[in-house]
């Protein structure tokens, strides 16, 4: 069972913590356990979602890469966690899913990366709006954060708060005259 790492939203510096996973993933063929927070598949959410949500527990959903986050739209405000499965670390669909969740559907709950989740993809995941991770490679929270924030700058806006380089440039230009290009290098 991989440990669960969560970004620490309350910290000024990028930080992550190992946390206890309150949620139990319930396979479609398994009965719903009594009185605990659960994560179910999209098909189960569609068929039993209202009953599950009415039972007073927290409910989340686990989406396969081919399943569209847009299908969650009406349920989203009631979902505590959306788990996006990386079937293979090379399968980049969950990055788009996470951005759509955050930027278009304005989802505020936990977006968790599960499956083939590796430290080398930490930055991509964080930038696309994931805030919880089940690393398959045993990464510690410190290693995860180091990988996620290795770059001092980014070239584009995404679902995180980081401003792209051109905004930094404009700030440098307004505050310090201009950022002189290196005439020696290229």
């Amino acid at each position: 069972m991989p440990s669960l790492i969560k970004l620490d939203a309350g910290s000024d510096q990028p930080r992550a913590l190992t946390v206890q996973d309150a949620f139990v993933f319930v396979h479609d063929e398994e009965p719903i356990p009594a009185a605990c927070d659960i994560v179910v598949t999209l098909s189960r959410l569609s068929s039993e979602g209202d009953d599950l949500l009415a039972s007073g527990r927290r409910v989340g959903v686990r989406l396969q890469p081919s399943e569209a986050v847009e299908d969650l739209a009406y349920d989203l405000p009631r979902l505590a966690v959306v788990q996006l499965v990386f079937a293979k670390f090379r399968d980049g669909r969950p990055y788009s899913s996470a951005r759509v969740l955050r930027e278009r559907l304005a989802y505020q709950g936990e977006v968790r990366a599960v499956g083939d989740v590796l430290r080398e993809q930490a930055m991509h995941m964080v930038r696309c709006g994931f805030d919880a991770f089940e690393p398959a490679d045993g990464s510690s929270p410190e290693q995860w954060v180091a990988a996620a924030y290795r770059y001092r700058h980014v070239y584009q806006r995404a679902a995180d708060e980081r401003e792209p380089i051109h905004v930094e440039r404009a700030q440098i230009a307004s505050g310090l005259g201009h950022n002189r290009p290196d005439e020696v290098g290229a």
Binding site: Y95, M123, H166, P181, D182, G185
Partner: protein, 552 residues
């Protein structure tokens, strides 16, 4: 030309450090080769037949002389003293040791060079017209937009694990010198009637085993909206592109399975929902990039140079060089000068470290310190005074770089083939050399006229055989190298895919077969027709009959 500022350079340093870290983790066994492979590929490092190959990006084919000298130094220090310029305007070093790779990347980063995203299923190095900023027929410098794309696509958080590789090319001239219709996205910049810059956006081009020319998905995209529109295309592709079959994963398959109208509709629907203001560059940033490409100061020159004219009159070889390799510049009295890397007997696209040094020296002395790489695997000095062309020619000749064969039958595009590449079925270089030898007489080559031969050692088509007036594809036939001919392809504004002529033949038969094709063309040629024009007019039949009658 664009020079990296502190922030760009810090990106390169961070990238280099990241890769050093990843390589160390691989060497210590912390990550598996399967996990490491996409990481090294996204840093341009391939494992080939004999050694590692490092593919260094040359964004939009523009090199400073400091960069070219550093490439020469790296080739001497860490490789066998030469580099190979590719059809994607990158440069490949074919004999690299994995343990040297981080040091090489550091040395390259010092001059603003890198290997970021030169391989892997991500947005690759962006290419543009090699005559950008020098040719009179462009509406804007396409590199302004290519640089915007470079920044937007570098370490993109959402689009680094696409279904397959993704290539973008930009031109701003009516004559397409960047083969944009063979790209995943081809961008053609024009001015609208009211003077606004606007892109024709084409998607779904690509070569490989299922070649397609890109189709127009939007006739007029306001240029300033480019990045948000690219975001929309990439998101549709990232989500809907096939991932179950590597041969069906390129965007061309998606575009053609949905149909271009439906694909375009999905892109427009996605684009309508993107917060474009968050993605599109503000005018101030576009102005900053534009300023970096502002035209150099050109000393006023007479439109006709007596020195140049006298040299042509005195030396027929120089006159041929002037006809083939010297092209009009937007400024009177200046020229764009092509340097052929196709000397007879040489490997197409190869340049030795000494040759790179020579070109750098010439660029400093005569071309405002700029060198371009053309996808035809040649180099370009973009801003040479006509009066200086004879002096440049003399130095090029000493360095065996003055071959006067641009666009002729010996200006052959060839991939590295089975001499280097693990993917290849057959060698490409010796075939190119044999053809070049057969047609080594420059007078004859010029009499034959424009004729693009393009050779790929396998179906992946790095040698652009689908786009050759004569395309040659290496195939494996029961363990032997065979070659399939196709005719009628073109990469330019009149882009068309070549059609297969007939059964494959052995490598030794190829020069004779080419000879037969040429003779057939000359027999059928009407006034002013290029080989390609004749093939298009007559169809394949006369060529087919001639080649296979001889073969039988």
């Amino acid at each position: 030309m664009y020079r990296y500022d502190d922030l760009d350079r810090q990106m390169l340093t961070d990238r280099s450090n990241e890769f050093r870290h990843q390589a160390a983790r691989r060497l210590s066994g912390e990550i598996t080769e399967d996990q490491f492979k996409p990481l090294r590929l996204m840093n341009g490092l391939y494992l080939q037949l004999h050694a590692y190959m490092l593919r260094v990006a040359i964004p939009f084919g523009t090199l400073s002389t400091a960069q070219l000298r550093r490439l020469a130094w790296v080739a001497t220090t860490y490789d066998k003293g030469y580099g190979h310029f590719t059809t994607r305007t990158n440069v490949q070093l074919h004999w690299i040791k994995l343990r040297d790779a981080p040091d090489i990347l550091d040395a390259l980063a010092e001059v603003g060079l890198h290997a970021i995203q030169t391989s892997g299923n991500c947005i690759r190095n962006v290419t543009a017209d090699p005559y950008a900023g020098a040719t009179a027929d462009e509406v804007d410098d396409p590199r302004v937009w290519a640089e915007a794309i470079r920044e937007w696509s570098t370490v993109h958080p959402e689009f680094s694990y696409l279904p397959r590789k993704f290539k973008i090319a930009v031109t701003a001239a009516e004559k397409d010198r960047a083969a944009i219709r063979s790209y995943d996205i081809g961008l053609h910049l024009r001015r609208t009637r009211d003077g606004e810059l606007s892109f024709e956006v084409m998607a779904g081009g690509g070569q490989g085993r299922t070649p397609y020319l890109a189709k127009t998905i939007r006739e007029h995209l306001p240029a300033s909206r480019l990045l948000s529109y690219l975001d929309a295309i990439l998101r549709v592709y990232n989500r809907a592109g096939r991932r179950d079959n590597i041969h069906k994963a390129r965007i061309k398959i998606l575009v053609n399975s949905l149909g271009v109208e439906e694909f375009a509709r999905q892109v427009e629907a996605e684009w309508a929902q993107i917060e474009a203001a968050e993605v599109d560059l503000p005018d101030t940033e576009l102005a900053r990039i534009r300023a970096a490409f502002q035209p150099q100061v050109f000393d006023p020159q007479p439109a006709v140079s007596p020195v140049f004219e006298a040299a042509k009159a005195a030396d027929p070889e120089f006159a041929r060089f002037a006809r083939r390799n010297v092209h009009p510049h937007k400024v009177p009295g200046y020229a764009i000068l092509d340097i052929s890397l196709k000397a007879p007997g040489e490997t197409p696209g190869d340049a030795s470290s000494a040759q790179m040094e020579t070109v750098a020296d010439l660029a400093d002395a005569y071309s405002q310190g700029e060198v371009r790489v053309n996808y035809t695997q040649n180099l370009v000095l973009p801003h040479v005074k006509l009066a200086d062309v004879p002096a440049v020619y003399a130095r090029l000749k000493e360095a065996r770089l003055a071959t006067a064969n641009i666009d002729l039958i010996t200006d052959i595009i060839a991939c590295p083939g089975l001499d280097y590449c693990t993917l290849a079925n057959a060698r490409a270089i010796p075939v190119a050399q044999a053809i070049a030898k057969r047609f080594a007489d420059p007078e004859r080559a010029e009499a034959i006229g424009e004729l693009g031969i393009k050779i790929s050692g396998c179906i992946n088509a790095c040698g652009h055989h689908h786009l050759g007036a004569i395309g040659i594809l290496g195939v494996d036939k029961k363990g032997e190298e065979y070659y399939q001919l196709s005719l009628g392809g073109s990469a330019g504004a009149d882009a068309e895919l070549a059609r297969i002529l007939g059964p494959a033949m052995s490598g030794q038969s190829i020069p004779d077969a080419i000879e037969t094709l040429v003779e057939t063309y000359l027999a059928h040629r009407q006034d002013g027709e290029r080989f390609l024009d004749t093939v298009r007019r007559t169809g394949l039949q006369p060529f087919k009959e001639a080649v296979y009658a001889v073969a039988d």
